[in-house]
């Protein structure tokens, strides 16, 4: 089963690691990711107003392309996933948006949300299976205490995202366990990092990230993982002072599978 892979803007620029590790790992796991060359930015924020049609179109094009190929659309970046999932749901359930968007796009067959939007982590869980992943791990991250940072976009609103329990999620912890690490559950793992007000409300973002990092440290985490470039940026910017490395989950996956960029001896993450 192959996936229609939608990387999104940041994964091709500032978050190349996230993208590259994810693709290489998928290859190693035998899951073909086929990237549509003509993808465009998803819009990064989900347009919450009912009358915003144009801002939904880029996402719908990508979703429709996946439908044409008859495959599920796979995303990694939390923001892309959030936008794709919710707009897809709009196309399934909101008749007004569906009609207007289809009128704009004038597709041969109207798009009505037929595509399934899958996050990379869901692919690991449901397509590969965490048990299978555990078997494929060559370099388990044994003894490493790692906290998962979910942030907002993957989980909320849970009725639409249907990703995990919004208040007590576990998919990243299960992932960490599968690659041999010791997951650290901490209460602020689903609280906001400050998102895009980072530029003008540095103090607020500092405060919010500080709380997340502090909470993780209290529970014994030595590093964090995330799926979102923005979260990682915010946490790193504020966390560097706090001596808490923040990785993309795919970096650790690549690490555990031994598919790092250098094809020599795998670089073990420093303890």
């Amino acid at each position: 089963m192959s996936f229609h892979y939608y990387p999104g803007c940041t994964l091709k620029t500032k978050a190349k690691d996230l993208d590259e590790c994810a693709r290489k790992s998928a290859e190693a796991l035998g899951v073909p990711l086929i990237e549509w060359e003509e993808w465009q930015c998803c819009g990064t924020v989900y347009p919450q107003a009912q009358d915003e049609i144009a801002t939904r179109l880029a996402a719908i094009r990508a979703l429709d392309e996946a439908r044409r190929n008859g495959s599920d659309l796979l995303t990694i970046c939390s923001a892309c996933h959030h936008v794709m999932k919710r707009i897809n749901r709009d196309m399934q359930t909101n008749e007004d948006i569906r009609t207007k968007a289809n009128n704009y796009l004038a597709l041969d067959t109207p798009y009505t949300g037929q595509t399934r939007v899958v996050h990379y982590l869901e692919m690991l869980r449901d397509t590969v299976g965490f048990d299978e992943l555990r078997k494929r791990v060559l370099y388990p991250l044994t003894g490493r205490r790692i906290g998962a940072y979910y942030g907002c976009m993957l989980l909320r609103p849970s009725k639409e995202m249907q990703f995990d329990d919004p208040e007590n999620p576990s998919i990243m912890e299960d992932f960490l366990e599968a690659i041999g690490a010791e997951p650290v559950r901490y209460p602020y793992r689903n609280e906001c990092c400050g998102g895009y007000v980072a530029l003008e409300e540095a103090a607020l973002v500092g405060e919010l990230c500080g709380k997340v990092l502090d909470s993780a440290r209290q529970k014994g985490a030595e590093a964090l993982i995330t799926a979102c470039p923005l979260c990682r940026y915010n946490l790193r910017k504020n966390g560097s002072k706090q001596d808490m490395p923040v990785y993309y989950f795919s970096e650790l996956l690549a690490e555990a599978l031994g598919v790092n960029r250098t094809n020599t001896e795998p670089v073990r993450l420093e303890k």
Binding site: G8, C9, T10, T13, K14, A15, C41, G43, T44, V45, Y46, P47, Q48, A49, Q50, D51, E52, T55, C77, A79, C152, L155, R156, P157, S158, P166, E167, E191, C192, G194, G195, Y196, V197, A198, L199, E201, L204, E207, L208, P229, L230, Y233, R236, K237
Partner: protein
Amino acid sequence: MSPVRSEPAEIVTEMSGVNPRKCMRCGKCSATCPSFSKIDIPPHRFVMMVENGEIEALLSSQLLWKCLSCFACVERCPRGVEPSKLVEAVRLLQIRGQGKNYRTPDDVPQFVEADEEIPQQLITSTLRKYSK
């Protein structure tokens, strides 16, 4: 007596698809809001003001620009009110007005210069949220 509905209030409820009358004033949105310290009108009051048709006052609210769209208020509201959608609708009402953009592409160079690590996502989303 139901409050007199001014037209902007109708636009906001229609645009957002939210029925503010469902709010029972429990304040869970405000209890959960991570930007609370930076805002002048807390989310629960924002919902009440939409219900009362006081849109004019909301157009200058800090909440429009400090809301993180973290959807915690949406997730935790026991009445399914979705305050963040109301905030977005009022924000759109504001920035759709001529020259009312809060951020413009002209601001981009200054951001990028400030920190070269800034992910694209951050710039795009800022512009998406704050300008038309």
